[in-house]
């Protein structure tokens, strides 16, 4: 349980004078759900980009996955090792059905199924898991936001990842839909997948995460259990605010 699956040391990314992420050390333990919170522009998404190496690489620092250094690898190589992610701005592949979209994950993920037909067969069960079986032959252009968010999740799952990075999969959903995703995330975690969640929906992230890391202006300001974070002075003054701390405190 305490094995470290993903670790960052002194991870730093600057854009000109701007310090998007500054000297961040982080550790993700195998089998946990780790929440990432902080205001927009705090560097959460930039950090995810660096883990997948989908943007210009980090300026300084090192990232390890299962002990192997990955910060110089190509995105597809990192994907092959068993790391997959979703995007904050959902990016389904247009001109394909929901099933075809998800089957790409099976075709090119860890399993590398060669045949497009088999990949689609394997994908069906994953669509069922995210409650999209009814919509498998619908072109992605015709899906609604909630369905696209789940499709995005299914696509990442089709790669059969050990580590799943979720960037705001609940943004823009209503409470019922959020609940659905929360349950799904917990279920995936029980199957043994390690999950990192970036989220603004405070209730959700406090509810599902075992640990939470708070970022502010590109720096890590706190790590701890949801309870510790809720009562952390620096987090309250920089991010949550007194009103929130009180309000949510009384709810709990």
């Amino acid at each position: 349980m305490s094995e470290i699956i993903l670790e960052g040391r002194g991870v730093t990314r600057t854009f000109g004078d701007l310090q998007a992420v500054w000297e961040v050390d982080f550790q993700v333990k195998r089998g946990e759900i780790l929440g990432f919170i902080g205001p927009n522009g705090a560097g959460k998404t930039t950090l995810l980009h660096m883990i997948n190496n989908t943007r210009p690489p980090l300026t300084r620092g090192e990232i390890f996955f299962k002990g192997q250094r990955i910060d110089h690898l190509k995105p597809y190589q990192i994907a092959e090792l068993g790391v997959s992610r979703t995007f904050q701005i959902v990016k389904p592949f247009p001109g394909m059905t929901a099933l075809e979209n998800v089957s790409i994950g099976a075709l090119f993920g860890k399993d590398k199924i060669r045949n497009a037909h088999w990949a689609r067969e394997k994908t069906r069960s994953i669509l069922a898991k995210v409650n999209l079986s009814q919509r498998e032959n619908v072109p992605v252009e015709n899906l609604n936001i909630s369905e696209i968010k789940r499709l995005e999740l299914a696509r990442a799952l089709a790669m059969d990842p050990e580590l799943l990075l979720l960037d705001e999969v609940m943004a823009g959903l209503n409470p019922a839909e959020i609940e659905l995703i929360m349950e799904l995330i917990i279920q995936l975690n029980r199957e043994g997948r390690t999950i990192v969640v970036i989220e603004h929906v405070m209730k959700a992230i406090m509810g599902i995460s075992q640990r939470i890391m708070v970022m502010h202006h590109g720096e890590k300001i706190a790590v701890g259990t949801p309870e510790e974070i809720r009562n952390d002075e620096s987090v309250i003054s920089a991010y949550l605010g007194e009103r929130y701390a009180k309000m949510r405190g009384s709810d709990a």
Partner: protein
Amino acid sequence: MLKVESLNAGYGDVQILWNLSIDIEPGSITALIGSNGVGKTTLLRTIAGAIKPYSGSIFYKEENITRLSQPNRAGMGIMMVPEGRQLYSGLTVEDNLMMGAYTRRDKKKIKEDLEWVYTILPRLKERRKQLAGTLSGGEAQMCAVARGLMAAPKLLLLDELSLGLAPVIVDDLIKVLKGIHESQDITILLVDQDVQIALELASRGYVIVHGSVEMSGESEKLLKNPDIRKAYMGI
């Protein structure tokens, strides 16, 4: 102030608003409530003139503005502060603010308004020569609100003010907006995914479901309504 009558609108073939009507009192703050995708932003954009409706009409100060373009409406004092700020990252903060006054011709008054905006949002004055792209999330949202104010708006449309901001910053923004509303002759129509915040700011609310008005009423009553608390606040 603003009267929307049986509005049908959408994007291309995808209709989003269905026969929607609302009525807004001068000087009020009104909130639109509903889950994502029900058409709140579409309604704001249609009122601002960014989307042409299929049918229905929009009256602003008794005048039918349904056929007017967005620049025309901006000139009449209808100004939107869009979701995601939409600032010009490569221009200075001051240039961004001055662009808010794009449709205005009264140079002297624009200068005065700029000074006024700087007094209520002193952070922006400190950063006036800085590029907008270097602002933090909270500052950028303030800059977007300030840019909207530079249009000397009579009707301000605020879309997702609190999205992605630290709750601490949102508290500040709410204070600023309340101050502006008390001191200026301004009507506000807002959308926020945090229903608590929206109804705290507004005196009235419209609940929108599938592109039509499902319910409307005073904010306190809506806040106490158990259905609304369950559906939109997850309590």
